[in-house]
């Protein structure tokens, strides 16, 4: 059994990859099961609410206090979906800006990691704003988390997703403030990469939710 002459410091990782990147993918694996459970429950309870409001159908007394249209607002949610999709683009541009800082072709506004990080945070917050608008209008129309199975499963699923977006926005703002303070360069690419992977995953979960909850009926 030979011994390598590495008696100090840390040996290189077995795969050459950073620990944190391996860990974030393992974490994303767990999130797949988390959202799978939430989505499954939503789909199981679809069409089983005893009283309204309902997602895709109108609702009349006695199932609703007053006659009510289908409560989901597809046009508005399409816009918020688009906003979140665009935030993935700005996120990717932020990572590219950090990785290629100082290189030709990445100067000026286009190569500004601060710009793209803040843009992503703003787009994420805009998405959350849409969610807040949607939640409050639903509540005003008589749908709360306690009203029926649809309310419980809908608000829990989208609420968990929104909480993940919120955490992501806070993460991005933290990165932004580090960038303001000391600047982010290629040596920080991993930090931004990890936050990007989280952010894209949260976006991708929304892709699933938008189709399964809003569009399919």
């Amino acid at each position: 059994m030979a011994t390598a002459a590495v008696t100090h410091g840390h040996p290189p990782t077995t795969t050459g990859l950073d620990h944190r990147k391996v860990a974030i993918w393992a974490f994303i694996g767990s999130e797949c099961m988390l959202f799978a459970s939430l989505i499954s429950t939503y789909l199981i309870y679809k069409g089983r609410s005893v009283v309204g409001p309902f997602p895709h159908e109108a609702c009349n007394p006695p199932l609703c206090a007053t006659p009510l249209h289908a409560i989901l607002n597809i046009p508005v949610t399409s816009i918020s979906t688009f906003v979140l999709l665009m935030s993935s683009l700005t996120m990717v541009l932020a990572l590219a800006a950090v990785e290629n800082k100082g290189k030709p072709g990445y100067g000026g506004l286009f190569g500004s990691s601060r710009l793209w990080l803040m843009a992503t945070a703003i787009l994420g917050t805009t998405f959350l704003g849409f969610q807040a608008y949607e939640f409050t209008s639903f509540v005003n129309e008589g749908l709360t988390i306690r009203t029926n199975l649809f309310g419980s499963s809908f608000f829990t699923l989208t609420g968990f997703h929104g909480a993940h977006v919120t955490a992501g926005v806070l993460w991005l703002l933290t990165l932004f403030s580090i960038d303001m303070k000391r600047g982010l360069g290629p040596k920080d690419a991993l930090l931004v990469d990890i936050s990007a992977l989280y952010w894209h995953f949260v976006d991708v979960v929304w892709v699933a939710i938008f189709t399964l909850v809003y569009l399919i009926h």
Binding site: G9, P11, T41, T156
Partner: protein
């Protein structure tokens, strides 16, 4: 025989100021964290055992009145919850922590502070859940907490809230550890140690981490639904609103079945370490052992509804899950044969560790056989919810898992503490445990098939159950003596056990190449590995027929001078209290939710937000402070 008795390494650390309570509260060393898990889990083992003992006193004869029905519900709930979440899993975690970095030739895990955090969350979560006893409202809905029984209309007290919140807290511990060990095993192996050269225990540990990653989120959501129903009035388990009574059961068992493989695979791994050493032969069929472990894990996600054969899922669902359940017996059975063939023709040494390991091979088989019997839905309609099932899972968990873990304790105690456990006391411990366990659980096959239901707090005479229950109770009393002897062995040997050298057993893997206990930095030089059995030097494919290592090698003492990390220029991560604080604030945050049921919603919200804030502050302090001194 060793000349100068080298005191265990903890004594060394007095010079560097690393003794005393504070050093334990701030440790990020995987070896210390492993020791913390071990001793905490053994303490909860005593508590869970006491809960079982009281039940067995109650059930010793017909019409027992030692405890009320309500108290009995709390006892079986907490016995199950404690043994599964606070004993078996943490005992496994003790070995993951202590052993995995050593087996792969690493200095620590990938995220040492996250590792400490996992332990503190476990400790605080376990204390939180058990604090319910003090308030006289211990969880009482069974360890599986079926909704709608556990919803507010049927369980109005705080009992279920303690259970629900406690499990959420404990889940965080397991998930964090899983991310840590997955990264460690993928990324921190010594040069030359490809995946198929890893020790089998590390393989089983690796597989278990994936089971944790995939299973725990599901129970997290099931519990979230229950939390929301109980605290916020949602409808997930409210039948009058159209909810399905099977939702909880499906979600719980999608977690619950992989959970039982989480409970057994580490013990399988330990047995796979112990048997080859005391047979002086390599493990028979190493690749098959690895692949069967993977197959068990993968198939384990496809069998869950075999816990639900009596609910009326219909013939197709019943048949599908029956087939998958029978299939999973195959890779499990294969392991039994491989262990037998490992011992066959070997130079056997019947140390206490070996006896515990062989016991798992024999008695887990009995549990496996009754398990296959449950796999037939028509047969299970008779067996389900009777003591026949209780017999099955106690054979696989106590006569299986726990035996493997004790084999690990006897085997690795010298490495962890630098002292041997007493073999003579160990033999008493083992034989009394063996007799006690069989006397307790074998009769349950009969009382179960004769119709004795689970979870009853008493029974009338003359139903044909009396003699079996009496035997079970006597077995339990014998077990109590046995486990006490085991504890005493540990207590006594910590200070008076024979001093152990690096490799008292003549074992082949990397952890046995360093002093006992290991120095802070584990390996002075990270080794390069060229075979599966580095210390036996058998070559990469193994040559059956015996180890090269001799008994003199095995009795070699620790080196007289063990260099410190400073002398070797190895940076050691800073000790820090921050993971403990994050764990504490997180527990308090969850615990504050209890106030919602005490009609103190505003106070609850205020406390939750305050603790969340404190938790975030501590987390921020943790994330912005360096892990270890800067080095080049």
């Amino acid at each position: 025989m060793a000349t100068a008795a080298v005191s265990p390494a903890y004594a060394h650390t007095e010079e560097s100021g690393k003794s005393g309570i504070w050093s334990w509260l701030t440790t990020v060393d995987h070896k210390r964290i492993g020791a913390l898990y071990l001793y905490t889990a053994l303490a909860w083992f005593a508590v869970g055992g006491l809960e079982a003992l009281i039940m067995r006193i109650q059930l010793q004869g017909p019409n027992g009145h030692v405890v009320s029905a309500q108290r009995f519900n709390e006892l079986f709930t907490m016995h199950g919850t404690t043994m599964i979440f606070l004993v078996i899993m943490p005992l496994s975690a003790a070995f993951f922590n202590f052993l995995v970095p050593l087996q792969i030739g690493a200095r620590d895990v990938a995220f040492p502070r996250l590792n400490a955090f996992s332990y503190w969350v476990y400790l605080f979560g376990s204390l939180f859940m058990n604090s319910s006893w003090i308030f006289g409202m211990a969880p009482n809905g069974g360890w599986f907490g079926y909704a709608p029984l556990t919803t507010m209309p049927y369980s109005p007290g705080l009992n279920i809230d303690f259970w629900m919140l406690g499990l959420q807290i404990l889940g965080v511990s397991s998930l964090a550890a899983a991310f840590n060990f997955i990264t460690t095993i993928i990324n921190m192996r010594a040069p030359g140690m490809n995946l198929m050269r890893m020790p089998i225990f590390t393989w089983m540990a690796f597989i278990v981490q994936f089971l944790l990653v995939l299973a725990f989120p599901v129970i997290t959501i099931a519990l979230v639904f229950l939390q929301f129903d109980r605290f916020f009035g949602t409808n997930f388990y409210t039948m009058t609103q159209g909810a399905d009574p099977l939702l909880w059961q499906h979600l719980f068992w999608i977690f619950g079945h992989p959970e039982v493989y989480i409970l057994i695979l580490p013990a399988f791994g330990l047995v796979s370490e112990v048997l080859p050493t005391f047979s002086r032969k390599p493990l028979f069929g190493y690749p098959v052992m690895v692949y069967s472990g993977m197959l068990i894990a993968f198939l384990g996600f496809g069998v869950w509804a075999h816990h639900m054969f009596a609910v009326g899922m219909g013939p197709i669902a019943d048949s599908v899950f029956s087939v998958t359940t029978m299939l999973i017996a195959i890779p499990t059975g294969v392991k039994i044969f491989n262990w037998i063939f490992t011992m066959w023709g070997g130079n056997l040494r019947f140390t206490v560790a070996m006896k515990f390991a062989i016991t798992l091979v024999a008695l887990f088989t009995i549990g496996g056989i009754s398990g296959v019997m449950h796999a037939s839905p028509p047969a299970d309609l008779q067996q389900t919810d009777t003591y026949f099932i209780v017999a099955h899972f106690h054979y696989v968990l106590v006569a299986g898992s726990l035996m493997g873990l004790w084999a690990g304790i006897y085997y690795y105690f010298p490495k962890i503490t630098g002292r041997m456990l007493s073999e003579s006391l160990g033999n008493w411990h083992f034989w009394l445990a063996f007799i006690g366990i069989n006397l307790t659980f074998m009769p349950m096959h009969w009382s179960g098939l004769y119709g004795m239901p689970r979870r009853i707090y008493t029974y009338d005479a003359g139903q044909g159950w009396d003699s079996y229950n009496l035997a079970s109770s006597i077995g339990a009393y014998i077990q109590a003596v046995a486990w006490f002897l085991g504890f005493w062995n540990i207590w006594r040997s910590r200070r008076k056990g024979a001093i152990a050298g690096p490799n008292p057993w003549g074992a082949p893997s990397l952890e046995w190449s360093i002093p006992s206990p290991p120095p802070e930095y584990n390996f002075a030089a990270i080794p390069t590995v060229t075979s599966r059995y580095p210390l036996w030097e058998l070559g990469s494919h193994g040559v059956p027929g015996g180890a090269v290592i001799s008994d003199e090698d095995a009795l070699k003492p620790n080196p007289t001078h063990i260099p410190t990390a400073d002398e070797l220029g190895i940076p050691i991560p800073y000790s820090t209290i921050k993971p403990l604080f994050v764990a504490l604030f997180m527990t308090l945050m969850f615990g504050s939710l209890l106030l919602i049921h005490e009609d103190k919603l505003h106070l609850a919200v205020a406390l939750v937000i305050s603790f969340a804030f404190l938790m975030t502050l501590s987390l921020y302090a943790w994330l912005t402070s360096p892990l270890e001194p800067a080095h080049h």
